[in-house]
């Protein structure tokens, strides 16, 4: 049984259908990259899996359990953690307080504040600093650490490299490689195709709310993904409603 199954997911923002009948599965320990142009529906899809958006149709299954109607805070307790786009840290709170908030759901596991600080050593001297005073890289590290503190089964990462300098992105991805090597299941939304293909096992390219291309990251070429990215190639695996 797949760890996460997304079945015919439809999400609307008012009259706009942001996600249109998307289906895919993620196996335990797998890293799935979601790529696509701005407005393709990647972030909406990720937030819908995390429970931040109501579904118009379809369902999300975690380890066989239907998450329909389960609010976002309970999904964290069931093992889904999202690192949202733009970090969305609690800027009035310190790094440590943000990390401890990740433990609210009470899932048992190995992650602790000290372990996060070991993974991101640059946060150690900033442990008691308010996150509003951190650099972009430190904020991203805190956001990832906060999600890990909930000991998730599935980690959803939304645009972790957005707004960061290349050097900081390298550091963040070096930390992610460690997570991937440890067997953490990850769904990664990324604009940088090279990075997405390099770290993932499988890639899904979205276009206008649908899956335009899906395949193994080692098998699909950058050219194919680029064509799908711009709508020059379609290979949908999900059922698309009329």
């Amino acid at each position: 049984m797949s760890l996460l199954s997304v079945e015919n997911l439809v999400v609307r923002h008012g009259l706009l259908q942001a996600v249109r009948g998307v289906s895919f599965k993620v196996e335990r320990g797998e890293t799935l990259a979601l790529v696509g142009a701005n407005g393709a529906g990647k972030t909406t899809l990720l937030r819908a899996i995390a429970g931040a958006h109501q579904l118009a149709a379809g369902r999300v299954l975690l380890d066989g359990a239907d998450l329909t109607g389960v609010p976002s805070h309970r999904r964290v307790g069931m093992g889904i953690a999202l690192v949202p786009e733009g970090r969305r840290l609690f800027v009035q709170m310190t790094v440590e307080e943000n990390l401890l908030l990740g433990r609210t759901a009470g899932r048992s596991g190995d992650w602790s504040v000290d372990k996060v600080l070991e993974m991101f050593p640059n946060l150690k001297p900033r442990r008691h600093a308010r996150t509003g005073h951190l650099s972009g890289g430190e904020q991203q590290a805190t956001a990832i650490g906060r999600a890990l503190m909930s000991n998730p089964d599935v980690l959803l990462l939304d645009e972790v490299s957005l707004g960061l300098s290349p050097l900081i992105v390298d550091r963040v991805y070096a930390a992610l490689q460690g997570l991937i090597a440890s067997g953490t299941t990850i769904i990664l939304v990324e604009q940088d195709l090279n990075r997405a293909l390099a770290v993932s096992d499988r890639v899904i390219c979205m276009l206008e709310g649908r899956i335009a291309l899906e395949g193994s990251s080692k098998e699909v070429s950058r050219d194919e993904v680029t064509k799908a990215y711009f709508g020059l190639h379609r290979k949908s695996t999900g059922s698309i409603p009329a």
Binding site: A50, G51, A52, P71, S72, H73, R74, V76, G77, A81, L82, P84, G86, R87, R88, L89, F90, V91, Q92, M93, E97, L100, L101, G102, R103, T104, A105, G106, T131, G132, Q139, R146, A147, S150
Partner: protein, 298 residues
């Protein structure tokens, strides 16, 4: 003059108590509870009822009233304020305004227009005092009120910074959507915050009843004092509420020295000056006025 300053500081403890709940509810749920004063008067009436009918000391009566107020706060948030907040920022204000009218008139119908006080039920505490050097007399009740305010504010500060639930409440106040994404049940956090706020309202109502008289329509002036103290101190800070209460009380004390009717005018004048300064330095709007951080994260 030093006597007046000490009395003013001690009175500030009461204002901090009454302002604390108003400030707390606004900073967490962004709701201005116009029924705040009426709920304090309601608590005072329940204590009076327990004392006059069942001979329960008001201090012992708090063991019943404070959990009752917590339950009222929780229910208010869950069944009234949460729903009205979905209709925009104005609706909760109108809702609590309506609630204040309902409470005031319910109390009037039940207890009539007579003024009541809890002072007869606390023995000599209502008028006893300590004599300090320099012929300064400090009321024991006033000292208890001030100490209660300091302990309450300190306790709340510790609760908010050192406990998981406190952090959840702070996270919810800053960004309720993201709080949900890290595992915080924002509805529960808001309901608990409302319960805590109502406990502070219950305490304030008890001390109001002990130090003065009250009637069914005494809630509005208490709301005004609470609002003034919260604005002067800045609603984002618990200790700011204590400072706001002390500044308000000192201004009233100084006002009373200047003119026999200057007690209220002194407080209002300082409030208006602070209001003017806040509006001109922080930009227009309630957020700037109350010195609150933005909800949005980085």
């Amino acid at each position: 003059m030093s006597n007046q300053i000490i009395q003013g500081i001690l009175l500030g403890g009461y204002y901090a108590l009454i302002a604390c709940g108003l400030s707390f509810m606004f900073s967490v749920m962004r709701i201005i509870n116009l029924a705040h004063g009426s709920l304090a008067i309601f608590a005072a009436y329940v204590l009076w009822l327990l004392a006059s009918r069942f001979h329960v000391s008001p201090f012992l009566g708090l063991l019943i009233v404070l959990p009752l107020m917590a339950a009222i706060g929780w229910a208010l948030q869950r069944f009234l304020l949460e729903r009205s907040a979905r209709g925009g920022a104005l609706l909760p204000i109108l809702t609590t305004f309506g609630l204040a009218i309902v409470i005031d008139n319910m109390l009037f119908e039940q207890f009539g227009a007579d003024t009541r006080s809890l002072a007869p039920y606390i023995g000599s505490l209502s008028y006893d005092s300590w004599e300090w050097p320099g012929s300064i007399y400090v009321g024991k009740l006033a000292v208890i009120m001030f100490a209660t305010a300091v302990i309450l504010l300190g306790g709340l500060q510790l609760f908010l910074t050192r406990t998981r639930l406190g952090r959840s409440i702070r996270a919810t106040s800053e960004d309720p959507d993201t709080a949900g994404l890290v595992g915080v049940d924002a509805r529960r956090a808001n309901a608990i915050a409302a319960a805590i706020a109502m406990v502070t309202v219950g305490l304030a109502g008890a001390f109001l009843g002990m130090r003065a008289t009250f009637d069914p329509y005494a809630g509005a002036p208490q709301l005004l004092f609470a609002f003034e103290a919260a604005v002067i101190g800045g609603a984002g800070s618990l200790w700011g509420t204590l400072i706001g209460g002390i500044v308000l009380a000192l201004a009233q004390t100084v006002g009373a020295q200047v003119h026999p009717q200057g007690f209220l005018i002194g407080g209002h004048a300082v409030f208006l000056v602070v209001l003017f300064v806040r509006l001109s330095t922080s930009g227009l709007g309630l957020r700037g006025l109350l010195r609150l951080p933005s909800r949005s994260a980085s």
